[in-house]
Symmetry: D2
Subunit: 162 residues, 4 copies
């Protein structure tokens, strides 16, 4: 059985208007590519990405920090209820075959770090520029547009899921 | 948006032939009801339930204990990679809107206990008879057949997801 | 270096007066034996056991479900802050070299199940009688008194920590 | 009851000789101040810090990623067995009243990010300079020496544990 690739979208709850537009486009493109969108299931970047995916007929998974499905944004098809607070960030990073990071929240920073720690490269669309802090530039793929971000992420997913 | 109900199927890796047949039928009936099947993603009861769901065109989620999707059985559509060993049992119980327990592994026992602890009733199809150990009989719904088990589980899911 | 054995005491927040007396005595005896007491860090059986241990000059660890040390009972020397709700039950069971179960809360039941699943025997001082539900009697050691419970637990800890 | 402060020391398994010397001194100073040292329990920075603390008569906690106490370094007094892989990083950050980061492993980076996400400031002794990547400099306290690092961490612990 060929599983659909899972693309994680990471980003915070209080994004800029540009980050929201980026997240929505990224979600739409993930769905149009036939991939599953995974995220943290809450608002902001997460909600915008899910909304974009649902508008294109995609499937969305929200890996929630709390104990109730009520906290999921309305565009989450499948809430995974961890009740593990930010430890769910690690589960999201492990579940995603590739990751697109949008914006600069500290939770996003933790997810980028866990990805690097797991040997996964991150596609950055305006997220933390960790190479300035000394992270090996091999680990971060800069994208200029949502289209480039999703193209790079799909290639990473294909490469990783041997 | 109306989310599909998520029915969890819990059971071990070394079931009896009867438990395998039950799990496969339960998986099929969950899929035919339009619900998502969630399980621990490994072999035995989990694999049989996923196989049944896929044969009926359903969607299956496997909440894995390890760090790799390679451990998922071949009928899992979406592996959630926790790398949290048996702590993933708690996530499975929280994620399911209702639970069907099949067979008598100790992992299954832990999931029944977590369900009771979270105030969720369990549909038992030949699983541990905890009422004999003093568990309030209100918490456990005995089913005689896969059909009765899935009917009871869907009713629980509807009741719980107000 | 010889590490001190860690004895876990499991039990709920709303115990009977007898369970409270048992827990306090168990905590005291653990401390007098030079072992570390580990528990879930909250009230009821957990608090009584910690109070007993502190009265005898022992050291207590509370593996907390929430995100704040403020929820620890006042007799916890070292709060471990998991913010993982009842998934912390699994950590407690793994951390303990041996376990004494007191009373009949569902969280206790989950911890007994995780212990069985991990191949650890449980010393039961009036806890769930799981042998009535079909659990192999090898896995549960019945104790009549706190003294017998702690003696059995220390023997299990010695046997397990080869 | 006044609990002893818990100072977390974070750093990787393959540190430079300078980082090892720093970690050992930091561990010693934490113990001399009467605080408990918490770390990830493995080798490298973690082992050096525990060794320093034990040489000064301190108490050490290792929050382990695996399922066995056998992976703890020999200077860990109390291994907490999570079997949760790198999700244990989040527990370490939550458990520490203050954190000293030494060296530049990606696991360390994840712990710094989780600390920032939880509103905890990090004392950095040659760790990732996240201010260059845009992190608010308020969140990171640079220390030149182990003495300065522990002094700053103890002050943070006092400030945070109201």
């Amino acid at each position: 059985m060929a599983r659909k690739p899972v693309i994680g979208v990471i980003g915070g709850q209080h994004p800029s208007p540009e980050a929201i537009a980026h997240a929505e486009a990224v979600g739409r493109l993930i769905a149009q590519a036939g991939a599953i969108l995974a995220c943290g299931g809450l608002g902001g970047v997460m909600e915008a990405a899910c909304r974009g995916a649902k508008a294109a007929g995609g499937f969305t998974v929200g890996i929630l920090p709390g104990a109730s499905k009520a906290e999921a944004n309305p565009y989450v098809d499948l809430p995974i209820v961890t009740a593990m607070s930010t430890a769910r960030n690690v589960i999201l990073v492990r579940t995603a075959d590739a990751l697109v990071a949008i914006d600069g929240a500290y939770g996003t920073l933790s997810e980028m770090a866990h990805a690097l720690d797991q040997g996964k490269r991150i596609v950055s669309l305006g997220a933390w520029d960790l190479t300035k802090a000394g992270v090996d530039s091999h680990g971060i793929l800069d994208a200029k547009t949502p289209e480039e971000a999703v193209r790079l992420a799909l290639a990473e997913a294909r490469a990783g899921r041997a």
